[in-house]
Symmetry: C2
Subunit: 104 residues, 2 copies
């Protein structure tokens, strides 16, 4: 139990060149999906983008959707829904824990 995930998967450590190789997407596309708020790389001190393995997975999803003719705006909405679901679950879990602890 508890927050273990300082996992490697979410560490933002890769430059765009490697991400391009890993996903097969052009750098142009990758930057564009960021512009459309579909991915959120971090930046080094001087502005170079840094991505995680999670971002790679996310980009693959995005590419699939684009290929199906879905627009970036729709993909973003879907992403938001997913985040809301997780948000809600987290809250419910929190409340359950609170009740549980009160009974101790």
């Amino acid at each position: 139990m508890a927050a273990d995930n300082t996992s490697y998967k979410d560490k933002k450590v890769m430059t765009i060149g490697i991400i391009s190789e890993l996903t097969g997407l052009s750098e142009r596309k990758i930057r564009y999906y960021e512009e459309r708020k579909l991915i959120f790389p971090e930046r080094t001190g001087k502005g170079t983008r840094k991505y995680s393995f999670s971002d790679v997975e996310r980009l693959m999803e995005i590419a699939d959707h684009i290929e199906d003719g879905i627009q970036t705006y729709e993909i973003k909405k879907e992403l938001k829904k997913k985040q809301n679901r997780e948000e809600r679950n987290k809250m419910i879990r929190g409340q359950l824990n609170a009740q549980f602890n009160m009974r101790k």
Copy 2:
């Protein structure tokens, strides 16, 4: 059972700048440890070094040893011993599996 590890941990995807940040070691040191055959980054098409999270862990170990005054040559010998141990274990496991399968 079986070989799962196409894990993120061993993927060589980080440039030396990030490795330097992650380990706190200068790029000079990192390149030198490679020269002494203590780490083995891959290379991109045009020669840029690429490291994995395993390499980061390995570099931390190396740094600890260096700090203790151990020479790179000794560290390398130790690395070899470790690898031999793993080699042996793998072989024994292989033999056991072979015997086990024969009885089936």
